[in-house]
């Protein structure tokens, strides 16, 4: 895991040095803030409803941030030929993927921390608990981490960043809306699709409302593991191609 730490430090340094990561965060925070002003703060509402609405649209930004922060991670290295340094060093593919994932996750965490002022404003002016905010943010973090893992997998597939972005966005959008498709189908396909939904069932029905279900946490963790494993296997397979 020493190599993971080395790669993590380089990647995080790269995020902090390059303007791209900061621009992504700034734009998402700006739009998130506008949405908060326009949709969450309109008229008289219960503070719990305002918070719920805030988490609802913030989940789009957390998901988008995950994809936007990850689609370049491997594809860009291949395009710039710097991937060879990693692939010819005594470093396991798992360590490469983990180092990059954890760096992007840290930057995603920074984005979420910077958005905390909005729920804190609701807390100051309304009657919500810290636990509701915490559960909502755990949901945002897990959702963002999942789309980040999806983006990393897509990035491992190709050297073309645009293709990686499109593939990651497509997977994330489909998995986030598979519940809608499931409602139009019959059992048992419906039951299966409902279980793999990323947003409607897990987030909207749980974290967004301040409800913490362990099975939802496990689902997100399992999905993250699944896509990270796919990314590792994709890197391994590239050596055989």
């Amino acid at each position: 895991m020493r190599a993971t730490s080395i790669i993590f430090r380089r990647e995080l340094g790269s995020y902090l040095r390059s303007p791209i990561g900061w621009v992504i965060i700034a734009v998402l925070l700006l739009v998130d803030g506008i949405m908060f002003q326009v949709f969450a703060m309109r008229g008289e509402q219960l503070s719990a409803q305002v918070l719920e609405r805030y988490f609802n649209f913030s989940s789009y930004f957390a998901g988008a941030a995950g994809v936007l922060l990850s689609f370049r991670l491997i594809a860009e290295e291949r395009q710039n030929h710097s991937m060879v340094l990693l692939s010819t060093s005594p470093v396991r593919d798992t360590e490469i993927i983990l180092g990059k994932f954890l760096a992007a996750l840290t930057f995603l965490g920074l984005f979420l921390v910077l958005s905390l002022y909005m729920p804190l404003l609701i807390k100051v002016n309304g009657k919500i608990t810290g636990a509701q905010i915490l559960v909502g943010y755990l949901g945002l973090f897990l959702l963002g981490a999942t789309t980040l893992a999806i983006g990393l997998f897509a990035s491992a597939l190709t050297r073309y960043q645009l293709i990686a972005l499109l593939v990651a966005a497509a997977i994330a959008v489909v998995l986030s809306n598979v519940y809608q498709l499931a409602t139009r189908l019959d059992s048992p396909v419906r039951d299966v699709l409902e279980q793999v939904d990323l947003w409607w069932v897990r987030f909207q029905g749980g974290f967004q409302r301040g409800i913490l279900n362990l099975k939802d946490v496990v689902f997100y963790l399992a999905t993250i593991y699944f896509f990270l494993l796919l990314a590792v296997k994709t890197l391994e397979s590239k050596r055989w191609q």
């Binding site: 080395i6 380089r10 790269s14 060879v84 340094l85 010819t88 060093s89 005594p90 396991r92």
Partner: protein, 313 residues
């Protein structure tokens, strides 16, 4: 020692390399010579454990590169065709990163850093961002990352690619220095580069190993015609030609032409008879201005080998 046995590589259904077998002994500097698409880069990437062979075995220092690539990578420094650089890092930060990736501790990297910067002549730009460096310096940074962990085996894929003439000479000198402490493999399609830096050559063409040996071994083909050009000062053209034609090994003396204040004679020979030619000229009391054992020797060998491969394909 590096030992490749029946190594081949297929991209999809297309054969890019092999099967080829060769050995590289410790301390040797070996050149992979071949035209573009000959399989040089594929061979080097397999040796550097960046690619896995489709068939065959590769042993580096007694370790199986397919079964234990992790261990082999510790022993190898690799400069690919395009140096693997992070343009957003300074030279010193990048080398620290590369060293630590290869298993060095921060203290070990710190100790080794000044030595590497000095060998690669990067001291003056060590604090600069790689993105601001010229192509020549970037190539040097590429070499620096390959040697930071003091590997036994150094693999350089087209190290002079894209360099200007001055940078080529500098890179050649750098490689010469590296030969002292490493077993070096260099790939190139530039004949002079290979002939000036390598002890032994492996000639690749269309994925096959067409020849191996030293430059003279490869050139010592039965009946091979070699060329020597001598430039002599004097007026008696016929007498000079007679002296040259009488030398053992000289099969033909072409009509001379004026060059550099003298007369240049092109001699066709059936063996390396530079010593006999110079001795005969001195004994005949002729003024020798220049003797050139044709630089095209390797070129001829290369064309013969590669031309044969082309003809057979």
């Amino acid at each position: 020692m590096i030992r490749a046995t029946n190594v081949s590589k297929f991209y999809g259904g297309k054969r890019a390399l092999g099967p080829v077998s060769f050995e590289i002994n410790p301390g040797e500097t070996v050149g992979f010579l071949g035209l573009n698409g000959a399989g040089k880069t594929t061979a080097l990437r397999i040796l550097a454990c960046d690619l896995r062979p489709s068939n065959g075995t590769v042993e580096v220092g007694g370790v199986d590169a397919v079964a234990d690539p992790h261990e082999v990578r510790k022993r190898i420094g690799f400069l690919p065709e395009n140096p693997p650089l992070y343009t957003d890092m300074t030279v010193i930060d990048y080398l620290k990163f590369a060293g630590e990736l290869r298993g060095m501790t921060a203290t070990q990297v710190k100790k080794r850093m000044s030595e590497v910067l000095e060998v690669t002549d990067l001291t003056d730009v060590s604090g600069d961002f790689i993105g601001t460096l010229s192509h020549g310096y970037r190539q040097r940074v590429g070499v620096a990352q390959a040697i930071i962990h003091q590997p036994k085996f150094l693999i350089l894929d087209e190290p002079t690619r894209g360099l200007d003439p001055v940078q080529i000479v500098e890179m050649r000198n750098l490689i010469h220095d590296l030969k002292q402490n490493h077993t070096v493999l260099i790939s190139s399609h530039i004949l002079t580069e290979i002939s000036q830096t390598c002890d032994r050559l492996l000639v690749l063409g269309k994925g096959e190993l067409l020849g191996k040996g030293t430059e003279s071994e490869l050139a010592s083909h039965k009946g091979e015609i070699r060329a020597i050009t001598v430039t002599l000062r004097g007026a008696d053209k016929a007498a000079m030609k007679t002296v040259l034609a009488a030398i053992d090994g000289v099969t033909k003396v072409a009509e001379p032409y004026e060059q550099g204040g003298g007369l240049s004679f092109s001699l066709s020979t059936n063996k390396d008879c530079r010593a006999e030619v110079s001795r005969a000229i001195v004994e005949a009391k002729l003024d020798l201005l220049k003797l050139d054992y044709s630089r095209s020797e390797l070129e001829n060998t290369f064309i013969r080998l590669v031309g044969g491969a082309d003809a057979s394909n």
